[in-house]
């Protein structure tokens, strides 16, 4: 990885590690150079991989048992003491079971606590709705002071975990559970919190995605270009908050068509955040959101659920074709009645 961090693994290791495993490795490394880092989990040290940090620094790791509310309160207290807590549990628990503690104790006091929430979206598909986290982006986005990041793959997870230490205040990083395919060939792509990454240039339509869906967006754009001759811009909107307004506004003006894909309810997440920017810009743009259509998802393997929700390669191709076939009102028709 990057020379500046001194990490001793390569991006090719990302093929063999989940986002969570990468996180555990990076945090263990960061723990060596920053003695203020402490770790907390709620009986999910193994599942979230923060346990790797715990094995290395047992005196700086606290397992609070299955008690997420207290865990976030304790994290706030540790931050107040001057430490830098990393808190890990499943996103569904971090964003809902314990959210008032995250809000009141950490965000309200603007404390330097980093939440690395795993099993985001429907990535724990077979566990069912109680373990699907399809509301987390919406909930966290509504809380002041906190930044919200959804890395696309293991490489970006490493980048985000390192970057979050550099910014003061609460950060929520939502990662998956399984082996998200690798999107990046290098870590040298200039990851910056709040700046979208243009994965592919394009002029006919812009696909905006986050998390594991980014891989599929890139694959779909290649096929669309080859088979349909469509020039698809792909933006990896890894930071949902603060959202990269500039990249969205540029996409409106330069492509006039935007479609978002996310492993999240279509309400309140990436699509909503992008839609707010599009609407406020006041320029003509055909816009569609694709995600979980305000329903609880069925059980199933993540790849089957992504297919079902049309956020895999096939689904993205289908939805982009639909958007391009959509009648797009010309400015001279704006006097039309509804």
């Amino acid at each position: 990885m990057s020379a500046k961090t001194g990490l001793t693994w390569t991006v090719y290791d990302a093929d063999k590690m989940t986002q969570a495993e990468t996180y555990g490795l990076v945090l263990s490394y960061l723990g060596e150079i920053n003695p203020k880092i402490v770790g907390l989990s709620a009986d999910l040290a193994k599942s979230t991989k923060i346990g790797k940090f715990g094995e290395k620094f047992p005196d700086r790791f606290f397992n609070l048992g299955i008690a997420e509310q207290n865990m976030f309160g304790v994290a706030a207290g540790l931050a107040k003491a001057g430490l830098l807590p990393f808190v890990s549990t499943f996103s569904v628990f971090a964003s809902m079971r314990a959210v008032e503690f995250l809000r009141d104790d950490i965000c309200y006091q603007n404390l330097n606590v980093k939440v690395i929430a795993t099993h985001g979206g429907t990535s724990f598909g077979s566990a069912g709705t109680t373990h699907h986290s399809i509301e987390d982006l919406s909930i966290i986005r509504a809380i002041p002071n906190i930044k919200l990041i959804v890395p696309a793959d293991s490489v970006e997870t490493a980048m985000a975990v390192q970057a979050c230490v550099e910014v003061e205040g609460p950060v929520y990083i939502r990662i998956g559970r399984s082996f998200e395919p690798r999107v990046y060939e290098t870590d040298d792509y200039g990851f910056t919190i709040g700046k979208a990454v243009e994965m592919r240039p394009g002029t006919d339509v812009t696909v905006i995605a986050c998390g594991a869906v980014v891989y599929h967006a890139v694959e779909a754009s290649k096929i669309l270009e080859r088979e349909d001759g469509i020039s698809v811009r792909v933006l990896n909107m890894h930071t949902i908050k603060p959202i990269d307004k500039e990249a969205i506004e540029k996409a409106v003006v330069e492509t006039r068509r935007i479609i978002t894909f996310e492993d999240h309810n279509i309400y309140g997440g990436l699509g909503s955040a992008v839609g707010e920017v599009v609407a406020e810009l006041g320029r003509a743009c055909a816009f569609t959101r694709v995600g979980i259509p305000d329903k609880f998802s069925p059980h199933g393997y993540p790849e089957d659920l992504m297919h079902y929700h049309k956020i895999d390669t096939d689904g993205i191709i289908e939805k982009v074709r639909e958007l391009l076939g959509k009648e797009f009102e010309k400015e001279e028709d704006w006097e039309d009645e509804y």
């Binding site: 700086r60 304790v74 931050a79 107040k80 003491a81």
Partner: protein, 250 residues
Amino acid sequence: MPLTEKEHVELRKMARKIRKDIVDVTHWCGGSHIGGSLSMVEILVILYWKYLRIDPKNPQWEDRDRLVLSKGHGGVGHAVVLANRGYFDFELLKEFNQFGSPFGMHLDSTKAPGVDASTGSMGHGLPQAVGMALGSRVLKKDWRVYAVVGDGECNEGSIWEAAMAANHYKVGNLIAFLDRNHLMIDGPTESVMSLEPLDKKWEAFGWYTQVIDGHDFIALADAIDKALENKNGPSMIICKTIKGKGVSFM
């Protein structure tokens, strides 16, 4: 250290002043959680004037003892105590609850000098206090953490989550006070949601537990001294108090 006669007289004098000031501020701001503020006056007075290692001129002093008002609705009482202890000018409390004031019903640690944790929603202070106490261990510091918990607040699950964690990690630098005034918003605690036997519950959760008269400075000093000797785990001092103490018609 047991109280000297002189200390006892001065603490009682201060408690009377604090009570009068709480009533004044409540009058100025048009209403507050006055009853629960009056019931914990002796607890805060003995901590701020005898036990806490603090420097009011340097509220963020790293090595200070911490105090977390877990029953955050007692904010008016806490603010009056902090003003009298020299953290800020008492006159500022004339603006209590008003637009733009650093002080409101539930105190904000980012605005009110001397407030170690923002609280208000029930069950949030004790977990933060446990975190602060663990923090001193990681940083090899010797500060102590004191928390004041409400009795109605003990309905909250997070209080017992924190109680379990404090015992599990043998947090010996944490002393909590339970303001046992027997009243919550909808009525007597035992009619809204039974708490007793409260001392047995805290004991069962592994806390060194004492039950005392929470308005008696001598009993408070004795209990705190014993709790300070107990370095192997968390301590709970259940303080039997009267809501609205000091105001005859409350």
